[in-house]
Amino acid sequence: MTAEFDPTMSPAAGDAEKAPTPKAKRARGEFLFFALRSKKFVVSVSILLFLILLAIFGPMIDTNDPLALGDLPMRQPTLDPGNWFGTTYFGEDVFAQFVNGLRASFFVGLLGGGLGALIGMMVGFVAGYRGGWIDEVLNMVTNVFLVIPTLAVLLVITSYLQARGVMFEAIFIGATSWPWAARAIRAQTFSLRSRDFIDLAKLSGRSGPKVIVFEIAPNMSSYLFLTYILLFGGAILIAASLDFIGLGPTGGMSLGLMMYNAVTWAALQLGVWWWFIPPGIGIIAAVGSLYVMNVGLDEIFNPKLRDI
C-alpha cells in the first residue's frame, strides 16, 4: 500500500471500526478485513478451493473409470480428453485416478479430522470441566492413546480384515489422532471454568453440558476451528502414508495409493514421471495449504500476531 497521507481525506476506514455497530457485525467485518489482508490466508484458501472444486467436479469431467485398463500404456500427457495426465503402466487414466484420489483424500480428511476433533473436544471439555477423578481417568486414556503405536495397531487390525474401505481408514485415523487436541482443549477449559461467569451460569440453573456448549466453547471457537483444520490436514497426510505402505483401502483410489502403485511398478525407473508427480503435488498442495491457512487464521484471530 502506497497511499499518501492526505489531511483532508475523511477517515472512513477508522470510522467504520469505531462506529457503535453491534459487535457481532463488526467482528465479522473485522474478520473479513484481516482475512483479505493476510496473503497466507488468501493464497492457501485459493489453492484449497481449487483442489476441492477439482475433487468435486473432476470425476464428472473425466468420466473414465480410474481402475479400467486401457490399450495405450505409459502414454505421455497430451491435451486429448482422458489423457491430460497420461496413462499408467496398465493404460489407466492418471487424471481420473488423480481427481478420484483427491476426492477420497478430502473425504478422509473431512471425516477423520472431524471424528478426531469431535472425540478430542468431548474428552477435553469433560476432563477440563469436571476435573477430579473423571479428569484423571480421561487424562490416562488420552495419554495411553498418545503413545499407542498407530502403525502396529493398524497392522494387527489389517491382518484380521479382508477388505478395508476409505470409511474404515477415516475412522481409524480419527480414533487415533485426537489425543493432543484433547489435551490442549482440556488445558483451555481448565482456565476458563474458574471464571466467575461460569459460576454465574451455574447459579442460573444451567446444567454442565449446557455450560460447556454455551459458555466455554464459544470463548474458544477460533481455537476449535484451528484444531479441526490441523486435524483435517493431518488426516490427509496420515492417510497418504498409510496408503503408500499398502495399508490403505483395498478397493477404490487415493493419492497415496497412486504413489504406492507407481513405486511398485517402478515408474521412477521407467521414467513415467506423470504417474507419481501429480499425486505428490496434490498431497503437498492440500496439506501444505491447510497448514498455511492455519497459520494465517491464527494471525487473523489473534491480534498479537498481526503485522501492522
Binding site: R195, D196, D199, L200, A201, L203, R206, E215, P218, N219
Partner: protein, 321 residues
C-alpha cells in the same frame, strides 16, 4: 432463614490426596430475612469459600447448610434450581462475571430460559424493566450493550438486578464493591441497604471493616478458616475481645492518626493465657481441654457476642502437625 451448621471444607493435596488442607473449619451462623451479615477476613481466610459453599459451587466436607430447615446438600436438578430461585450470588469482579463474547443482558436471558421459559415476551420485558429501575439503572442505557461498554458499577447493579428477577430470599454478596471506585461504591452499598429493608437476607463478604460496620447487623470475623469472633456488629466493634479483632480494628487507617500513635494505644495482651476467654472460664484453665477437638470453639462473651479460642487453635495446630 439460611443456617450454616458447623460447615468445614478440606482440600486433599499432595500425591494421592495424602495431605489435608483446611480451608474452612467449623463455621456456624444464621442469615435471617432483612438482616445483613458481614463476613470479614483477610485474603485466604476462607470467606469466599464459605460463600461458594452456600451457593453450592463447592461441596461441603463436613456440616450442613439448611434453607428454612431443609438440608440443601443433596439438591440436584430441579431441586437445585428451586434453591437458586431463593439463593443467589454476586461476585467480586464485575468484568469477569460476564461472558465477554456475549451482551451483558444475556445474564437476564439465561434466567428467563431456565426459570421463566413460559412467560410471554412483553411481560418479561416489563419485569426486567422493573428490576432495572429498582437498582436505579436506566433500561435503555444498559440493555443491548456489551460488558466492556458498561461501567463496573453498572455491571454490578445489573448482576443484583439479575438476582432480583428471581423470588430471592438470600443474596451472597462476595466483595461486590471492592473493585468499584468510591462514588459508585456508595450507590451499590445503599442498594444493598434498600434490599435489606425489603426483607432480603444478605451475606456481605468483605475484607473492609468499615464497610461491614456501615451496613451489617451481625459480624463474623474469619481467620485461617475459623471464626475468631462473631456477634452483633456494635458489640464486636464496640468490645473487640479476640486479639486478632483488636488488631484488625486498630489497623483501619484513621484520617487524623498516625500508625505509630495507634500502636502505643493498642491494649496490652492480657496476662496468663493471652486473654482467651474460654480458658479463663474453663474450670481446668491452663490445661489441655479434655474435650473432643470437634467441639465448637466459641466462647460466649455477652449476649449475641462470641469469641473463638485462639489458644485452643494453636494447640490444635500442634496436635495436627
Amino acid at each position: 432463614m439460611l443456617s450454616l451448621n458447623r460447615i468445614s471444607k478440606t482440600y486433599k493435596t499432595g500425591t494421592f490426596g495424602g495431605k489435608d488442607l483446611v480451608a474452612v473449619r467449623d463455621v456456624s451462623f444464621d442469615i435471617n430475612p432483612g438482616e445483613v451479615i458481614s463476613l470479614i477476613g483477610e485474603s485466604g481466610s476462607g470467606k469466599t469459600t464459605v460463600g461458594k459453599m452456600v451457593l453450592k459451587l463447592i461441596d461441603i466436607t463436613k456440616g450442613s447448610i439448611t434453607l428454612d430447615g431443609v438440608d440443601v446438600a443433596h439438591k440436584q436438578g430441579a431441586e437445585l434450581k428451586t434453591y437458586y430461585r431463593h439463593v443467589q450470588g454476586v461476585f467480586q469482579d464485575p468484568f469477569s462475571s460476564y461472558n465477554p463474547i456475549f451482551k451483558a443482558d444475556r445474564v437476564f436471558s439465561l434466567i428467563r430460559s431456565e426459570f421463566f421459559a413460559d412467560m410471554p415476551r412483553a411481560e418479561w420485558d416489563a419485569k426486567v424493566d422493573g428490576v432495572l429501575r429498582s437498582v436505579t439503572l436506566e433500561p435503555n442505557q444498559v440493555l443491548n450493550k456489551y460488558p466492556h461498554q458498561l461501567s463496573g458499577g453498572q455491571l454490578q447493579r445489573l448482576l443484583v438486578a439479575r438476582a432480583l428477577l428471581l423470588d430471592l430470599k438470600i443474596l451472597i454478596a462476595d466483595e461486590i464493591i471492592s473493585m468499584l471506585d468510591a462514588s459508585t461504591r456508595i450507590d451499590v452499598l445503599n442498594l444493598l441497604a434498600d434490599l435489606k429493608s425489603r426483607g432480603l437476607g444478605i451475606l456481605f463478604i468483605t475484607h473492609d471493616l468499615s464497610l461491614g460496620n456501615y451496613i451489617s447487623e451481625k459480624t463474623v470475623i474469619l481467620r485461617r478458616g475459623s471464626v475468631v469472633e462473631m456477634g452483633a456488629t456494635d458489640k464486636v466493634f464496640g468490645n473487640p475481645t479476640h486479639p486478632y479483632t483488636r488488631m484488625l480494628i486498630s489497623s483501619v487507617p484513621q484520617l487524623h492518626k498516625k500508625w505509630a500513635q495507634i500502636e502505643q494505644e493498642l491494649p496490652a495482651p492480657i496476662a496468663g493465657r493471652g486473654g482467651c476467654l474460654f480458658h479463663e472460664a474453663y474450670p481446668l484453665a491452663g490445661r489441655t481441654p479434655d474435650r473432643p477437638i470437634d467441639e465448637p470453639t466459641l466462647a460466649r462473651v455477652e449476649d449475641d457476642h462470641y469469641v473463638g479460642c485462639f489458644e485452643l487453635d494453636s494447640e490444635k495446630a500442634s496436635q495436627v502437625a
